[in-house]
């Protein structure tokens, strides 16, 4: 026993280890380096759509920050700088595929067509979340770090049992890789060959904690071999590289070859949330340095070089961005205050009368308060 390897047909580690360098297709000046292993199988409209999603995302993101400043949102977690990673990743999914996001996935939501106004209600506190996950196969934002990785894995296991060609994608951060749940999720996914892609946005920070406090690994992508799945990494500020790498992983999973892990290298340009103060833990220089690789500017140069971006298109995209941002703002501004009695409404499918006394109490409190006011 001792001699023989511990498993029947172990995979070859070399098929699972990441390449020495992250996949990178677009230079900062917008020049595209073709890579046969990572073809960009997109037509002109799709290439423009990527741009559209990134611009809309950034615009809605900025609007959300404003809304928080205006006191309309309690807090907000900006994805500024991560547009390419999120849009490039989500764009690789098919309509029926599912996204299991953390709380910073505005770009993935926009790509999926989720109503950003409904999505952001949870930051206003109208309700704990308010979009329908089944409308665009976009799960609820998950705030407990890394927990959604297990939901994505279970969902994928269910689809596989049903021979349903669905792939799920779990978004989480560099910090999340330290938690037990993503570890267990990747363990299950590997063992059950679940069609799930673990998409890590390595934005270098977990609130104030830098990556080297999360792991001593050469790269996050080197974690994959420990679960028997391939680990890929890409320049997460390069939307085409991110798309191509994710596309490959997604179709591989769909074809039954099992899960994959992707590390998209990017940077959190904004504070962790609007409540955070980055000056306490990182330098302006670092932020400026990171700003130089702005994912949208780079992609705009590419589209322009390719002659895919004329003023009409720019105007059109600008208009769509403005429209979506306005729609979101109006949704938030016009959000009803909510009915306190709803506290009891969704807890159970059948509350078997358990809430009666407490409902009566709250109703009485509301009535009394009403009298005072009125």
């Amino acid at each position: 026993m001792g001699e023989r390897s511990s498993r029947a047909d172990p995979p070859d580690p070399n098929d699972l280890l990441p390449p020495p360098e992250p996949v990178h297709l677009l230079d900062p000046d917008g020049t595209l380096h073709e890579d046969p292993d990572h073809p960009v199988d997109l037509d002109d409209d799709q290439l423009r759509l990527l741009y559209r999603h990134m611009v809309v995302t950034r615009r809605v993101d900025r609007e959300a920050i404003n809304l928080q400043r205006q006191g309309q949102l309690g807090v907000y977690a900006s994805l500024l700088g991560q547009e390419a990673a999120q849009v490039g990743g989500a764009f690789a999914l098919a309509e029926q595929d599912w996204v299991f996001p953390s709380y910073r996935e505005l770009g993935a939501a926009v790509t999926r067509g989720v109503d950003t106004g409904k999505l952001l209600h949870l930051f206003r506190g109208t309700w704990l979340s308010d979009h329908d996950p089944y409308e665009h196969q976009f799960a609820l934002y998950a705030i407990p770090i890394g927990t959604q990785a297990l939901h994505a894995t279970g969902f994928a296991m269910g689809a596989r049992l049903d021979d349903n060609p669905i792939v799920t994608m779990a978004y989480f951060g560099d910090g999340a890789t330290s938690e037990g749940d993503p570890h267990e999720a990747m363990t299950f996914a590997g063992v059950f060959k679940a069609p799930v892609v673990f998409f890590v946005q390595n934005n270098q920070w977990a609130i104030s904690v830098p990556l080297d406090r999360q792991t001593a690994a050469p790269t996050l992508a080197h974690k994959a071999v420990g679960y028997g799945m391939p680990g890929y990494h890409c320049d997460g500020n390069d939307v085409l590289a991110t798309y191509a790498v994710t596309r490959r992983a997604v179709e591989r999973a769909r074809s039954g070859e099992g899960p994959a892990f992707i590390e998209a290298l990017t940077y959190r340009m904004e504070a962790h949330t609007t409540s955070d103060d980055p000056t306490r833990y990182r330098t302006k220089e670092e932020e400026e340095e990171a700003g130089k690789t702005d994912p949208i500017a780079r992609y705009r140069r590419f589209l322009t070089n390719e002659g895919l971006l004329d003023d009409d298109v720019e105007e059109q995209v600008e208009a769509e961005a403005k429209a979506e941002a306005t729609r979101m703002r109006d949704e938030i501004y016009e959000a009803p205050h909510g009915d306190p009695m709803e506290l009891f409404e969704h807890v159970y499918v059948d509350d078997t009368g358990h809430f009666e006394r407490q409902k009566v109490q709250l109703a009485a409190e509301l009535a009394a308060a009403g009298e005072v006011e009125g």
Binding site: W127, L128, S129, D130, D132, P133, Y134, A139, L140, P144, T147, A149, L150, H151, A152, T153, G154, F155, A156, M157, G158, A159, L161, D162, T168, G180, D181, E184, A185, T187, F188, V191, E345, H346, V347, Y348, V349, D350, D351, T352, G353, H354
Partner: protein, 324 residues
């Protein structure tokens, strides 16, 4: 009538539930080929195949977290935590997701997940295999918690829990797995969240659940010799608690003892006492008393009999109650 053990009744309940709905899955540690360490899942894999009955990696958060994902997809997962003391690694998935997802989603996401957990002591086990953690789940809004105490309920409550659309923790009284009764299966019993009077009486109400129901019945029998007429209530549902049945009983007896193995402080008995002293204030002739485990960790096997409530401890409380 055929003689069946509690373990067999639950096994049959799982079997029939899987036969009735092919979206029902059963998984956990060692539930497949082995049939579970208590054989409660015996032969299920044979019957329904390893796609629907499967062993998982050794990771409880993984078991519950994937159950949630499977439920979101449309399955009806039944998962097992091998022992009471080993459900804790899954606690975050229990409290932050299983309990809250439906409310969070404004009713859009429903999680018909059943979590089976053998619980309680009295089997001479090593540490972590004899705990009574019901408070952790019963205090968590969004979960439901039940515990069968009879062979018939072993079958019927298992079926009812799996059929229900809310997440339900089923606490199986492991020390009663081998308890026999004559019941023809399938059988249906009272609604899942109703308490049941197992033995009517006039002097003192004794409330118990899971493994302690049988002990309470024995105490009631022994109490007869003392001339005490005890009414024994099988709580069955620990969340929600069927307060009305408890209040109705105490309105008759004026006295109540709550029995459980769990530590006394913040055990189910505390909530029952708080509710009943409020709703039956003028009917109480004595304070509600508790015959429970101590506020200590569960003891080693050779000392567990001194920790666990038994007939004597229950009757001591009855006597104390009657002394008011």
């Amino acid at each position: 009538m055929s003689t069946t053990t509690l373990a067999q009744a639950i096994n049959r309940g799982l079997h029939d539930a899987m036969g009735a709905d092919d979206r029902v899955l059963m998984f956990g540690e060692d539930v497949g080929a082995l049939g579970g360490v208590f054989r409660v899942t015996d032969r299920l894999q044979e019957a329904y195949g390893s796609d629907r009955v499967y062993d998982t990696p050794l990771a409880e958060s993984g078991i519950l977290g994937t159950a949630i994902g499977l439920a979101m997809y449309g399955m009806r997962p039944v998962c097992e935590m091998q022992f009471d003391g080993f459900a804790y690694p899954a606690f975050e998935q229990f409290t932050s997701h299983l309990a809250k997802m439906r409310n969070r989603s404004r009713g859009r996401v429903t999680l018909p997940v059943t979590v089976r957990i053998p619980f309680g002591g009295g089997i001479g086990a090593v540490e972590h295999h004899s705990e009574s953690p019901e408070t952790y789940w019963a205090h968590t809004a969004g979960l439901k918690v039940v515990s069968p105490a009879t062979v018939a309920d072993g079958y019927a409550m298992t079926r009812a829990a799996i059929a229900a659309d809310d997440p339900i923790v089923v606490l199986e009284p492991k020390r009663r797995y081998w308890m026999k009764d004559d019941v023809d299966l399938p059988v249906t019993t009272e609604p899942l969240h109703k308490a049941v009077v197992r033995r009517p009486g006039d002097d003192v109400t004794v409330v118990a659940y899971g493994p302690m129901v049988r002990t309470a019945m024995e105490a009631a029998a022994a109490g007869e010799d003392e001339g005490w007429s005890l009414e024994v209530i099988d709580l069955r549902s620990l969340s929600p608690i069927d307060t009305d049945t408890l209040v109705a009983s105490v309105q008759k007896t004026g006295r109540m003892i709550v029995v459980h193995e769990a530590a006394q402080t913040l055990g189910i008995g505390s909530e029952i006492a708080a509710r009943v002293q409020q709703e039956a204030f003028y009917h109480l002739e004595a304070p509600i008393l508790r015959a429970t485990g101590f506020d200590t960790p569960y003891p080693p096997a050779m000392l567990e009999s001194f920790f666990l409530p038994d007939v004597d401890r229950i009757l001591d409380r009855v006597e104390e109650s009657l002394s008011y």
